[in-house]
């Protein structure tokens, strides 16, 4: 899967989960940049990504993520 496709899908997911179409999804984006991005929203985000990409993450994989760039790399590595 190309990086462009991953970011396009991630953008849809972010807009849906945070109910905010103005979020620009970049590799540098972190939880500090989005108002509603608390621990529970993070879980909803991970679940939405799992659903959209048909993937499963372990708690450890999710816990290590520092920003959206790392999340995209993880998706790329796990995508079939």
């Amino acid at each position: 899967m190309t990086t462009d496709i991953i970011y396009a899908k991630l953008t849809d997911i972010f807009h849906d989960v945070f109910d905010d179409d103005s979020i620009v999804v970049t590799p540098q984006l972190t939880a500090d940049d989005v108002d509603e991005w608390d621990s529970l929203a993070h879980v909803r985000l991970v679940l939405a990504v799992e659903k959209k990409f048909s993937l499963k993450f372990s708690a450890a994989e999710v816990g290590r993520l520092k920003n959206v760039g790392e999340f995209a790399s993880l998706i790329q590595a796990k995508a079939p």
């Binding site: 529970l40 879980v43 909803r44 499963k56 708690a59």
Partner: protein, 646 residues
């Protein structure tokens, strides 16, 4: 997956594409907030939908806007898991059930403190009820395999733990408790032997659940049977170890909408909002087939046939509901006398006329009929549930009478009964002798009631159906279906002339005949061929030999559109007059006034009721119709008059 019915709330219609925008508008334009929120909530909402709706509701509430007519309810939540996870889903789902829910959460895993301290946030919040959402991880359930005495003490201890919570809440607040049963963890120790051996997790959880149910019986407190809910969708799906470890979520997030709906059903039932009356469609709902066309011998009901058994299950379910106090009624597009035949004469029918409080079989739209039933029974529309296999009827009733609950149904009738019950419309918090007798009280031998004025604007609904009508002359491809309709249709059939396939082919090739096969598609799908017309030329006249239509598309102006097409075609072919006939049979009273309604003038009426009618082609008015018309296969009349190549 069969648990999709539950996890996706498949009895509710799919959420609109602009759901997010509609939620935002809710907060921005606070007019009729409660009603609009409830309408939005009445879709099959997933976790993110629920989140958006809850956000809009909270915003409106914070701004001081009224959520009337939703009934306010304050629900405290104490839990050993992350209650934050369930709160937005509860707030949004409550709107579906007519409740404006406010949730007060205890701090994470502070169950005992929240219940026992008089000044805890929960005890101070004047809750109407407190949800005690505790699972196996929040109860003292030490396993002691093989030690029956220790097991008994453990069960006793777990129940005492819950009692202490209840007593604390009762002492320090006026709230009632909603206790949850405990879903069984999937991991086994001994295998099947877990069920035999005292002191295993399986054994302990079973005993605790039984104890919880017993302790609630006869008190004001209520039970939320989460153990059964989890078992229904599958324990392996329900328990999600990753989510528990990561965020202390009590179960897989896919079931959050389902869980929240179940909590809110109970809350709504506490406020007297459970439904009281089930209105049944007949054809293809209570039995398989169409009684008016297939006849008593042709409908499918009873043992020995998969479809017959599926519909029998619908009847059995209706009777079970009746036994517990739900009033039954019928709304069917049929001639009254014909619709009653199976109830009187079919040996396999379980439902009988004396089970039904009201029997509305006529050709009016169902919204008008349901309104009449509600008024006759002096029950509110919000007490009604309407079961119908036809998506167009469901859509009409939902649109005209949004207070009526109308479950979506899957294609397979085997799942009708399950879907109806999964929706939980008749959630009970008690069962009394009075309930048992209620259905009898409403009994009046399936009376018919007179109709009030039409329930609302049907035309606007018809426009929303996006009907696409395709008109073609008879051709080889359509022949078998044309012949089938000609030989099967009884009700909407002006002359009931039966023709073989060979005769249909002859009409196709007869230059003096004009033929039409009509197909209709709409927003709900393709209805296939629904109407057949044969006109025979007699100088400048078209004698309408055959005009029939499927009753499934009745009340949608299809016959008006067909007439317009006949007029259009007649003009291009130099026809000056249409002549129609009505030949009465036992089953076609429905179309007695067909030609009068279409603006034809009476020519003659026979003693046996047969009539003939005429319409001048040039003077016939045209109407604006909610149906798009597509033609194919018509020869230009100038080159090859009235013949019909494929």
């Amino acid at each position: 997956m069969s648990n999709d019915l539950y996890s996706r709330l498949a009895w509710l219609p799919v959420a609109p594409d602009d759901f997010a925008q509609q939620c935002r508008r809710l907060a921005d334009e606070p007019v009729e907030l409660g009603k609009r929120a409830q309408r939005l909530a009445l879709h099959a909402l997933d976790e993110n939908h629920l989140h958006k709706l809850a956000k809009a509701l909270n915003k409106a509430r914070d701004a001081g806007h009224s959520l009337a007519p939703l009934t306010p309810f304050r629900l405290g939540i104490i839990s050993n898991s992350t209650s934050h996870f369930i709160v937005p889903a509860l707030v949004a789902s409550a709107a579906r059930h007519g409740v404006a829910l406010e949730c007060i959460e205890a701090d994470f895993d502070q169950v005992m403190q929240a219940a026992l301290a008089p000044d805890s946030s929960i005890n101070q919040a004047r809750c109407d009820a407190v949800l005690v959402a505790i699972d196996h991880r929040g109860l003292p359930l030490a396993v002691t395999p093989g030690d029956a005495q220790a097991a008994e003490q453990t069960v006793h201890g777990a129940l005492a733990h819950l009692d202490m919570i209840r007593n604390g809440l009762r002492a320090h607040s006026n709230a009632i408790c909603i206790l949850q049963t405990v879903p069984l963890p999937v991991e086994s120790t001994f295998g099947s032997f877990d069920a035999v051996l005292p002191g295993t997790t399986r054994h302990l959880v079973d005993a605790v659940n039984r104890g919880i149910a017993l302790s609630v019986a006869g008190t004001e407190d209520q039970l939320l049977d989460v153990a059964h809910l989890a078992a229904t969708v599958g324990l392996a799906h329900w328990h999600d170890a990753t989510l528990w470890n990561m965020a202390k979520l009590p179960f897989a997030s896919a079931f959050l909408p389902l869980y929240a709906d179940h909590v809110c059903r109970l809350v709504a039932a506490l406020r007297g909002k459970s439904r009281k009356c089930l209105i049944l469609d007949l054809d293809n709902t209570v039995w398989g087939g169409v009684i008016g066309d297939d006849g008593l011998e042709g409908i499918v009901i009873g043992q020995g046939d998969a479809t017959g058994e599926a519909h029998l299950q619908v009847q059995r379910t209706a009777l079970t509901l009746r036994d517990r106090g739900v009033v039954l009624a019928v709304s069917s597009k049929n001639t009254d006398e014909i619709a009653r035949q199976p109830f009187r004469k079919h040996p396999e029918m379980l439902l009988r006329e004396d089970h039904l409080a009201v029997f509305q079989a006529n050709w009016n739209d169902k919204a008008t009929n349901i309104k009449a039933i509600a008024e006759e029974l002096s029950l509110g529309l919000d007490s009604m549930v309407f079961l119908d296999d036809n998506p167009v009827e469901r859509g009409l009733v939902r649109r005209m009478l949004p207070q009526v609950a109308v479950p979506e149904l899957p294609d397979d009738p085997a799942l009708y009964a399950r879907t109806l019950l999964a929706a939980g419309y008749f959630e009970a918090i008690a069962f009394s002798g009075e309930d048992r007798q209620r259905a009898e009280f409403y009994q009046d031998n399936a009376r018919r009631v007179t109709l009030q004025k039409q329930a609302g604007d049907v035309d606007a609904y018809l426009v929303s159906l996006n009907m696409q009508m395709t008109l073609q002359p008879f051709d080889d491809t359509g022949r078998a279906r044309i012949a089938q309709l000609i030989n099967k249709s009884n009700q909407f059939n002006l002359t009931t002339r039966r023709y073989t396939e060979a005769e249909v082919a002859a009409a196709q090739h007869d230059p003096e005949a004009f033929t039409l096969q009509v197909r209709l598609a709409d927003a709900f799908g393709d209805n296939g061929m629904i109407s057949v017309i044969i006109c025979r030329r007699d100088q400048d006249d078209w004698d309408i030999d055959t005009w029939l239509m499927s009753c499934r598309v009745l009340g949608r102006k299809v016959e008006v559109a067909v007439l317009q097409e006949l007029l259009t075609q007649a003009r291009t072919r130099g026809i000056r007059r249409l002549v129609g006939r009505y030949l009465p049979t036992e089953k076609n009273k429905l179309v007695e006034d067909h030609y009068a309604k279409l603006g034809f003038t009476l020519l003659a009426r026979q003693p046996d009721g047969a009539s003939s009618w005429e319409l001048e082609v040039e003077s016939a008015p045209t109407a604006d119709l909610p149906i798009a018309v597509h033609r194919s296969g018509f020869a230009s009349p100038v080159e090859t008059p009235a013949s019909a190549p494929a």
